[in-house]
Symmetry: C2
Subunit: 366 residues, 2 copies
């Protein structure tokens, strides 16, 4: 009896294959942001998306320790109170799962099946990672930083603690924190209690939860989550580009009210203020267009200012809703020149897919 | 353009039909309890199950009002501070969705597709409903109490505010509260902020969230959620029995660690303490049996005492895990004589299904 022989391989669904019970098991465990909750600048507890690869580990905060080792001059072991005694920083961050958008891809990669709801914004408070690394003294041969969580499981036959590497320069960037508070409360268990990494701008897989160790190494990290999972491949066996920063995306809060089962939206005719949120991990969003005719014509939305570089921006647009069926959609532009496409390029992992949202709306006769 | 023509009808999936994108949309919005979180007596925020029929309404607490009207001597309008000024009561309640267990039924009713995770336990603090009704003065002709929420949508062609009726005697029962705190914090939006009904022992559909009105009527309530939805029917058109109290159920915390995709569990050989939770809305659970051979043989688990009548009880059992494949299962008994069946009777809504859980475990060689 070995874990390899019972572990599920990576797989693409057959044409027309419905969502499997394996995918549904993940959807039932993990959870997305109900889109109406985008009305909150900061996502309330329990509405922020959660993706947990294995189980949520139970951690006793009194005995929790974080080790900092490897290519450092002074290896450290920090308890929670030691970490909390260091100068803290709070950063508002929009976090998105790298697999957001996977459920409607054709063909569909078999994994956690998100539509577009794997997102949330929170205020994360913690110690700048740079401060901890400075205390440890980074050796001149350090190249990468490896973050290891207390979550343990098997993936495609490989038993592992969840572990991600990050280039040293990225790890030392401003606003990267070892967070121990979320929205001014202690971290909920599912968000990494007692301490997680928050690396603004990066997709969720980089924000290692339930941190137990930080190791500096003298080469690029080639562990499972960096070199096997979270690569953008179109053919099996390719090396593929690493999944990294969040592609630009705009999401509209579905207006009106829904049908329970289809989630089609019903809107009364007349003036409607459409609102939504847009973000990018590459550069600030500087324009959002909105369309009420499925992308045939576009109008610039009003984009609200925000002092929070790493958080979504609110946008609004007026719509004179006339009876009939309509498809609402929006697209985000960022100041790096990236434009959200109607259909993003497909890859076998279903990663970084920022195809535009489609909101089916029926405007009633009265 | 009318809501009727765009609303989805009730439907049973065809044999072999995979989970549809409509079902997945509900699974992505709503969320279950990751079973490892049963380790907590009280479910932390964000891990408790949530089922929202329409959208989560946004409520300004300063202008929120609750009306109490109908067959009463003194109709009331209560603001939040007035309600909070009344003597409060806290009750620990295990809440379960009436549709828990639906996803694996054959044939499968098409609706929110839960496996077994639509459950959670919380401390609800609020005003006893009986106190509010006493203040209003219940007229002698009152028969039912109708609770209306601020959530609005369409279901099987019927546009509605979410609304449930309850017999007056049930509404006046001890421990029924108008709750404004959950786990000693204000209610999260998704759990009914600012005020919801909590009716211990009843399936979730009775615990109306985002309450706006309470109306006493002189007849049995025949609204949609009582007379159309939430009935146990085996054939269309039957009246069907009303869904009411929670059937007994025991759930084991899956031991060991999971495979990401299949969620199969891996356990090291040797002595394992299995733990879980059991509850019933009819009467206290007084026995739990556990089986490590898929129900071929059963052993009584150790059932922990609990002062909380309406909350789940913890159980444990030792297991000498030998290498190989095993299926763990448990069954709950309550003091009303109800016994959790291996396969509960099917109905078209997939309601009140308390078939036993099956946990597939691979015990490794070392």
């Amino acid at each position: 009896m070995s874990v390899e022989s019972f572990s599920t391989k990576s797989r693409i669904a057959s044409p027309g294959e419905g969502i499997g019970l394996d995918e549904l098991q993940l959807a039932a465990r993990n959870h997305g942001l109900p889109l109406e909750a985008m009305r909150y600048d900061v996502t309330p507890a329990g509405l922020h998306y959660v993706l947990v690869h294995y189980d949520i580990p139970y951690v006793e905060p009194a005995i929790w320790e974080l080790t900092v080792a490897g290519c450092v001059e002074r290896p450290l072991t920090l308890g929670l109170s030691a970490l909390q005694a260091m100068p803290a920083q709070t950063v508002r961050v929009t976090l998105e799962c790298a697999g957001n958008g996977r459920a409607t891809l054709t063909p569909r990669p078999v994994s956690q099946p998100w539509f577009v709801e794997a997102v949330g914004s929170a205020d994360w408070t913690g110690v700048p990672l740079a401060s901890v690394l400075e205390q440890a003294g980074v050796s001149s041969d350090a190249v990468s930083v490896v973050f290891t969580g207390l979550d343990h499981g098997v993936e495609r036959g490989v038993e592992q603690d969840y572990q991600r590497g990050m280039a040293l320069a990225d790890a030392l960037a401003d606003d990267v924190v070892l967070a121990y508070r979320m929205n001014d409360s202690e971290l909920p268990p599912q968000h990494g209690f007692p301490v997680r990494l928050v690396a603004p701008g990066w997709y969720g897989m980089a924000h290692v939860k339930w941190l137990k160790s930080i190791e500096l190494i003298d080469h690029e990290f080639d562990g499972f989550q960096n070199s096997v999972a979270y690569r953008m491949r179109t053919e099996p066996g390719e090396t593929g580009e690493a999944v990294s920063r969040i592609e630009p995306r705009a999401l509209i809060v579905p207006p009106g009210f829904p049908d329970f089962m289809s989630r089609i939206r019903f809107v009364r005719p007349g003036r409607v203020v459409l609102a939504g949120r847009a973000w990018s991990g590459w550069a600030p969003v500087d324009r959002v267009d909105i369309s009420t005719d499925d992308g045939a014509t576009w109008t610039p939305a009003i984009l609200e200012e925000s002092p929070h570089r790493w958080a979504w921006r609110r946008f609004t647009a007026e719509w004179d809703a006339q009876p009939g069926e309509h498809v609402l959609t929006a697209r985000a532009f960022d100041s790096s020149g990236r434009i959200q496409p109607e259909v993003a390029a497909w890859n076998r992992g279903g990663f970084a897919n920022n195809s535009t949202q489609k909101v089916a709306v029926v405007v009633t006769d009265g």
